[in-house]
Amino acid sequence: MKIEIVSEKTDAGYLLKLKGDVDMSSSPEVRSALGEAFRQGKGARALFVDLSQVRYMDSSGIATLVEAMQTCMKQGARLRLIDLSPAVRDVFEMARLSSVFDIFASVSDAAKGL
């Protein structure tokens, strides 16, 4: 199961759209795409990650997002997650992370108030 990652530059910062399964096999790829977005988007107000097409996420995917949040904090940027699929929602709830991340219903909602 391959992961597909589409990266897009928006006004407020990079938007990464993930499609597929984020597991121990694919999260290194997600991590490096996030790293690339941090490098390219230095000084941006936010990093957006669209999770609507993620059918599966395990603790390695969560770890990758937690790391991204920590990097964002250091850079004074916001990490904004968009449109969690039911599978991702389940994992976030099990990990009690639903309130830790900033989660938005759509890209336009996430772009507000930055």
Partner: protein
């Protein structure tokens, strides 16, 4: 398949059904494990959400075997056995790597937001029992059980 049969109070035979799977200890096979385990559990009558959580827990157990028992060696083998009894599901995971230090395995405090340490928590939150057995010749036997409703 084990041909164990139990007899209920009503005298009905309850045949256990067993599915076994063995895959290389490479992360790319986690998807194969999930793909095989999901339909076994969902056709056993567990809800979609419960099935998803159990599949996640099994995936985490396999990831732990790759990371900890085999220290990243992707050429070893992970053995899984799913046994559907009349009232109970039992999932066994076996490896031939470094034996687990059962005392060291504890779910982390969820308030401590950091990467890692979630796998054990996921296993405990969906399964009724999570048991590590290192008494065998080599490796660890992890047994996960859940009551069928």
């Amino acid at each position: 398949m084990r041909e164990e049969a139990r007899v209920t109070k009503e005298g009905k035979e309850l045949q256990e059904e067993t599915v076994s799977l063995a895959v290389p200890s490479h992360p790319k096979y986690l998807y194969v494990v999930r793909s095989a385990v999901y339909p076994v559990l969902s056709s056993a009558g567990f809800s979609r959400s419960e099935t998803r959580k159990m599949v996640l827990a099994v995936d985490e157990a396999c990831s732990n075997i790759i990371k900890h028992a085999y220290a990243g060696d992707t050429t070893k083998t992970i053995w899984l056995t799913l046994t559907l009894g009349g009232d109970r599901l039992r999932i066994e995971l076996r490896d031939s790597g470094k034996k687990v230090d059962a005392g060291k395995i504890a779910p982390r405090d969820l308030k401590d937001i950091r990467p890692g340490g979630l796998g054990t928590h996921f296993m405990n939150s969906v399964f009724d029992s999570v048991q590590y057995d290192t008494s065998g010749g080599e490796g660890t036997l992890l047994t996960l059980t859940k009551k069928r409703s």
